[in-house]
């Protein structure tokens, strides 16, 4: 039957080329036997309309051929949960980095309306590229895992490399009797951390954000900041970016109820670096006279007083930070000791 041959030819086009002749030969034998049965039951050949109905019942050639293909997916079910997780993280980091870059750019020049529009419309574009790269990388991993199954044993969930004891605590069950942070508190910390960072980055270009109306008199003052404040400023940025990233990651991962001790220790330790910078300044000259030759006699005492105030403030902050650091480290050591004692009993 011409129609059956045409049907089989259409199916063949969509079959894997290595097996298409074999599959079509088998399909042809089966369908011809079926056709013979139908015709002998009717006592006559099928009419064109009946033949068409019969082939329609068998299914579209593409669908029939697809059944002979192995089940294919760009990213399979074993990898998909990891893909979703990495995609969320990638979106978060891409957005955060984008925002920081934009804030720094805005702090260094005054944007036009077109600049603002471009900034808004560039973010979706960036996120699309992020999604494309993440998908591409996972598709390659899936392809490699499918074709060399022995070399990717850890892809199949559930992985055996996890510990139930490492799962995040639920509300009201935090170690050491600590009160869990509420979701609102965790979100507020991220929002205010972000706002502080934006404010801090804008201060050099817009000093009134720090000093209010007093900023207008800055140029008239005989004092200026020492060069040490530049690295100090950027270290504060680093500390806050690290803290913001850590807290945002906690929100995304769902472990925001407990503020990690490691996080507190690391942030406190990094926080000591800018303070160390201040202590390294010779003679604690944090503020200098613009014209020492002219103003030393008149403003020398005030300058000494200002620098001493800054020095003692730095010392106080440093002592508080070190005590907090020692407290957290001591608490960790005590917890570890208690766990060891409990394990021995």
């Amino acid at each position: 039957m011409d129609l059956l041959d045409r049907y089989l030819a259409a199916v063949k086009k969509h079959l894997p080329w290595q097996r298409q002749d074999d599959i079509v030969a088998e399909l042809k034998a089966n369908l011809e036997a079926q056709l013979e049965d139908k015709e002998s039951a009717l006592g006559r050949p099928l009419t064109a309309a009946e033949a068409e109905d019969w082939l329609k019942q068998l299914g579209h050639p593409i669908q029939v051929a697809a059944r002979y293909q192995p089940q294919r997916s760009l990213i399979g079910p074993a990898l998909f949960p990891f893909y979703c997780y990495v995609m969320k993280l990638a979106f978060f980091w891409a957005t955060l980095i984008y925002v920081i870059v934009i804030v720094v750019q805005l702090a260094t020049r005054t944007p036009s309306q077109m600049d603002v529009l471009a900034i808004v419309f560039r973010l979706p574009d960036g996120l699309l590229w992020t999604a494309t790269w993440v998908t591409l990388i996972f598709a390659i991993i899936e392809f490699a895992a499918f074709h060399c199954p022995g070399k990717f044993p850890t892809l199949a969930p559930p992985s055996s490399n996890w510990l139930p004891s490492a799962l995040p605590q639920i509300d009201g069950q935090l170690a050491g009797g600590k009160k869990p942070r509420s979701f609102a508190q965790a979100v507020a910390e991220v929002i205010f951390g972000f706002l502080f960072l934006v404010w801090w980055l804008l201060v050099p270009q817009h000093p009134y954000l720090l000093m209010g109306p007093g900023a207008a008199y800055l140029h008239g003052l005989p004092f200026q900041l020492a060069p040490v404040w530049v690295p100090f400023y950027w270290w504060v940025v680093v500390v806050n970016v690290a803290q913001l990233a850590w807290r945002s990651a906690g929100l995304i991962r769902g472990n925001w109820p407990r503020l990690r001790t490691t996080q507190t220790i690391v942030v406190s330790a990094i926080g000591l670096i800018p303070l160390g910078l201040l202590f390294s300044v010779p003679d604690h000259a944090y503020v200098l006279l613009k014209n020492p030759a002219l103003d030393q006699a008149r403003y020398g005492a005030a300058l000494t007083s200002i620098n001493l105030s800054i020095q003692w403030s730095a010392v106080a902050i440093c002592v508080i930070t070190v005590l907090r650091l020692a407290w957290e480290i001591g608490r960790i050591s005590l917890d570890a000791y208690h766990k060891r004692v409990a394990a021995m009993q």
């Binding site: 034998a29 089966n30 079926q34 068998l58 002979y68």
Partner: protein, 109 residues
């Protein structure tokens, strides 16, 4: 098709999928080619579409549960399938499982 009908159809297909494999393996304790296998199953009350059955035979053969050979019958070359040694073993295990599930369902009902 309504939402409920669509849901029923999906669940029915899911329920049938494993049973079809079991039925095909059991029926192929005797040699068949695709069309006669389909007829034999239909005769026992299990209708299977051509587009489901014929690719299923290929998959089961690729998994080593069936063996096949091309042979001429009634002046036409046909591919005949039969349960392999591994297939027989697998069929025994699947039947045990199926009977256990049936018993459990009966107990629940």
């Amino acid at each position: 098709m309504t939402l409920a009908e669509n849901l029923f159809e999906n669940l029915r297909l899911e329920l049938r999928r494993g049973c079809l494999t079991l039925a095909v393996l059991a029926q192929l304790r005797q040699e068949h080619y695709g069309y006669t296998l389909r007829k034999a199953l239909a005769l026992r009350g299990l209708e299977i579409d051509e587009s489901t059955l014929y690719p299923l035979l290929r998959r089961l053969e690729a998994q080593g549960l069936l063996t096949s050979e091309w042979r001429e019958e009634e002046k036409r070359n046909k591919r005949f399938y039969r349960l392999s040694g591994d297939g027989e073993q697998m069929l025994g295990q699947l039947l045990d499982e199926w009977r256990a599930i049936n018993t459990s369902i009966d107990n629940i009902l």
